[in-house]
Amino acid sequence: MNPLKATGVPAKSGVNKTIIDFLDKAVEKKVFDAVIVPMKTPAQDSYSYVLVKEKSLLKEDGVPLPPTMFIQGAKAVSSITRRGKPPMKIAAVMRPCEIRAAIEIAKLGQIDLENIFLISMDCPGVLPTSDFLKDPKKHEQLFEEAIQKNDDSIMRPVCQICDKSSMIAGDLHIGTVGTKKGTFLIISNTSKGENVLKELGYTLNESIESWQKKVTAISADKKKKRKKAHAELKSKVSGLKNLVETFSECINCHNCMRVCPVCICRLCYFDSDKVKHTADDYLSRAKSKGSMRFLPDTTLFQMGRMMHMSISCVSCGACEDACSMSIPVAQIFSMIADETQSVFDYVSGRSIDEPIPLVAYEKEELSSVEDAHD
């Protein structure tokens, strides 16, 4: 592990401007060849990830901390590097949960991080897409105000209970909370990140103590809220009856799976022929249950997805945003994820060096099964 080292940069024009300035400088000095960063779309009403080499474009439209998350950044980076590392150095600027998702799927060969520099920032949360779309201008304003007031009540429900909003998993991180007035921090987490800062001529002698203190406090506070929210949720959804009821609104569109950064299967099992049965089969199921609701297997789909990816879930909330039936999927998944991950003392995307528990081959586990049969 590389120790965190930081440099201070002037914060006067806000976090977006600060990050853009930094990227601008880095592209200018050819430390990065290109940047993938959220940008405002030409219609000015939404944001998307754009791979950009042109500096002027970056300065004009780049918004490193947009009010919404239309696309989970890990999916964007995966699109670029799925077939191998890019031939140029790309800085990917994303929220901490997006970076963690990127690291998580890098472990499954879906992202090649070799030429990618992951840059995160303290995240205030994101607005639910549906809220934002009602009035983009107004919500941009609301988002800004919410940041100023440290108010997360208009953010996605999972953002409100996110205890990892400043987690540094990538190479560089922009610290904005608890810092000296008028100063933000650029913190390096890896030797790769440290080299970037050195190449740009920064001296890494800024203390991160007050930032760390603030982050710890926010995280502790959110953790408390998270625990409480999960406990409430648990009482509502646990047990098969409650679970079936919760997911009874599911229309089987599988949007949640499609937007999920860690759902990486080419073909979801639940989209395959394996879950398409004959009328006979359905009849016998209807007979044994008394009746059967169609479309079938909605709860099974949710539970199957939970089994499959809860260990890698980063609680980003993309699924819940995509749910046209407003099922609190992200909240349920974040609750399950916390529990499954804690079994293995694992935090998804925390470090590229931690193998995903379910795919880590532990020989001892094999012999413990063997011994049980002796």
Binding site: L108, G109, Q110, I264, C265, R266, K274, L358, V359, Y361
Partner: protein
């Protein structure tokens, strides 16, 4: 094609007949879909039973066969052969185990009968989803590569070489013989080691079916049982690399002593006259046991169990050769006093206790000790240690011989990487199973013998070489084709996401990664169908041919209905 399933229930003498109401079972399943015939028979695995079954298959024009009888572990192969005799593919067959799983364990006859019906129904359902799988036959190369020309490797090569089987021995040093060539005599017969060695080396050198590559290393070994391609390079780079083809590999790369260079406790390489066992063997072999100052030692301390605690295992042979050292010393310097310091004496074997009793005289003592520290005291060496009563004791000696733990050779990791065999916690090559497959590895066709597998004496090393040779002689027969596993895994190219998880869980090296397509590919000749990849694949791309999802799902559904 019309499906006609025949179900045959074995009474297994009284085993099943007395515990299960077979008539009731027949009634319950006779009217099921696709059932052509349901019959019972007294003992299906008997010669009469097998004949009856194959006739039934033909007579009833069956397409699928279900046998309700004992465990498939016992007779699956038997009935698969019957299928072939009857003219149906042996994989269009399923067994329901109503003996071990019902008759033998369920006391209540009604319950046992119910359970048997469920299991048979599940087997009937499953067999309908079976696919014909064809046997594959591959040509095999009978030749054998032996890595390491020590006593174990030499023995294996002599056992294996014949006019229709060439043996290639790759030895990294400039001559055959290995560690043993340092020894003057062998424990416990005290015969000249050179006599055994010279004889074996001569036999190898004059055997036209053995080719020895000295000063050479194996740089690459690719392939699988029956067909390995080996690349041999000369260390001196004087000769061109050589490529040979073999069907099996015997790894006989021996062992090392643990490295004591950084050890501060025993003063090795820091104090004069502190030797390791190998140093002493060599000094003894030179015929001149002397101190640094040229004088003969009047007292020698032999320290056993050096490094045992750190390593966590007893190296098995040190006590024995340490006793042998006493004999060396007594033969050459009759007046010498010898002190053995040991943690535990380990002298198993049917003759060895006698050897110990005969060695022990008033000038050769044995003391149990721990926390030994060796320092210089004048001309002599001072050994400070805790004795059996935990009392700190001092012992002066002119010379100290250390018996360090036996450790894997320095190139063990490299050889493991080249051959694809695994190593155990200590770094020795790992056998497939300690008890039932002690010389096989998880890779079919690669065997480990001698100290490469763990510390052992000459006799045990030779036994292992003979065992490995036996395995190879019985399975890799010149001119005979090999029949690889049929129930292999398959990875779907369109579903594979290229995460390479399967590569890490495959114990047989059967999966490779296609870098252009970014997908994993199973080599069906190497795959043993263990199912590791199927279980680990996060995207459902890997499946097992005879245990595919649908087969298991249908079977399970019927069993729990």
């Amino acid at each position: 094609m019309e499906i006609k399933i025949g179900v045959y229930i074995c009474e297994c003498g009284p085993n099943i007949a007395e515990k299960i109401d077979i008539e009731k079972v027949i009634n319950a399943i006779s009217s099921l879909e696709d059932i052509a015939v349901v019959e019972k028979f007294s003992l299906l695995c008997s010669a009469d039973g097998k004949k009856y079954l194959s006739e039934q298959i033909k007579k009833n024009k069956l397409t699928h066969l279900v046998i309700a009888a004992c465990s498939p572990k016992e007779h699956e192969k038997t009935f698969m052969e019957v299928c072939e005799q009857g003219g149906i593919n042996p994989f269009l067959f399923q067994m329901a185990n109503i003996r071990e799983q019902c008759a033998w364990v369920t006391e209540d006859k009604d319950e046992a009968t119910k359970k048997a019906i469920r299991l048979i129904k599940a087997a009937i359902k499953r067999v309908g989803y079976h696919a014909s799988l064809d046997k594959k036959m591959i040509e095999s190369n009978p030749n054998v590569l032996i890595i390491g020309g020590g006593i174990a490797g030499m023995e294996a090569s002599l056992q294996l070489a014949s006019k229709d089987r060439k043996v290639f021995v790759v030895e990294k040093n400039d001559s055959l013989g290995g560690l043993v060539q340092n020894f003057e005599k062998s424990f416990d017969d005290m015969k000249l080691t050179s006599e055994i060695l010279d004889k074996k080396i001569k036999q190898i050198e004059t055997n036209e079916n053995i080719k020895v590559f000295t000063n050479s290393e194996v740089a690459e070994a690719i392939g699988f049982f029956g067909n390995f391609e080996i690349n041999i390079v000369s260390q001196s780079n004087e000769t061109e690399p050589v490529t040979i083809n073999v069907g099996a590999i015997v790894v006989a790369t021996g062992s090392n002593l643990i490295d004591l260079t950084d050890n501060t406790q025993y003063g090795y390489k820091k104090l004069d006259n502190v030797l390791t066992s190998i140093d002493f063997e060599q000094m003894n072999l030179s015929g001149n046991i002397t101190l640094k100052n040229g004088k003969k030692p009047k007292s020698v301390a032999i320290v056993h169990c050096v490094g045992r605690d750190e390593k966590g295992y007893c190296s098995e042979i040190c006590c024995m050769y340490s006793l042998k050292f006493s004999r060396y010393l007594k033969d050459k310097i009759p007046s010498v006093a010898i002190n053995h310091l040991y943690s535990d004496l380990c002298i198993p074997g049917k003759h060895h206790q006698n050897f110990y009793e005969e060695t022990k005289t008033d000038k050769i003592s044995f003391s149990r000790s721990s926390d030994i520290k060796i320092t210089q005291k004048g001309e002599q060496l001072n050994l400070t240690y805790s004795d059996e009563k935990n009392k700190t004791t001092n012992l002066l000696a002119d010379m100290v011989i250390l018996s360090p733990a036996i450790a894997p050779t320095n190139d063990a990791a490299k050889i493991a990487a080249i051959t694809g065999i695994s190593r155990d916690e200590q770094g020795f090559f790992e056998e497939e199973h300690e008890k039932i497959n002690p010389v096989s590895t998880s890779t079919d066709g690669i065997f480990i013998v001698g100290c490469a597998q763990g510390p052992k004496n000459i006799a045990d090393s030779i036994v292992q070489s003979e065992a490995a040779a036996g395995k190879i002689l019985s399975s890799l027969i010149p001119g005979k084709k090999l029949e690889p596993e049929i129930k292999t895994s398959h990875i779907s190219e369109s579903f594979c996401i290229g995460c390479k998880t399967c590569l890490t869980v495959c114990s047989y090296g059967a999966i490779t990664f296609d870098e252009t397509k970014k997908v994993s590919v199973v080599n069906e000749v190497i795959c043993r169908g263990c199912g590791n990849c199927v279980a680990a694949c996060p995207s459902g791309a890997a499946h097992s041919k005879h245990f595919n999802f649908n087969q298991l799902y249908q079977e399970l559904k019927e069993a729990v209905e």
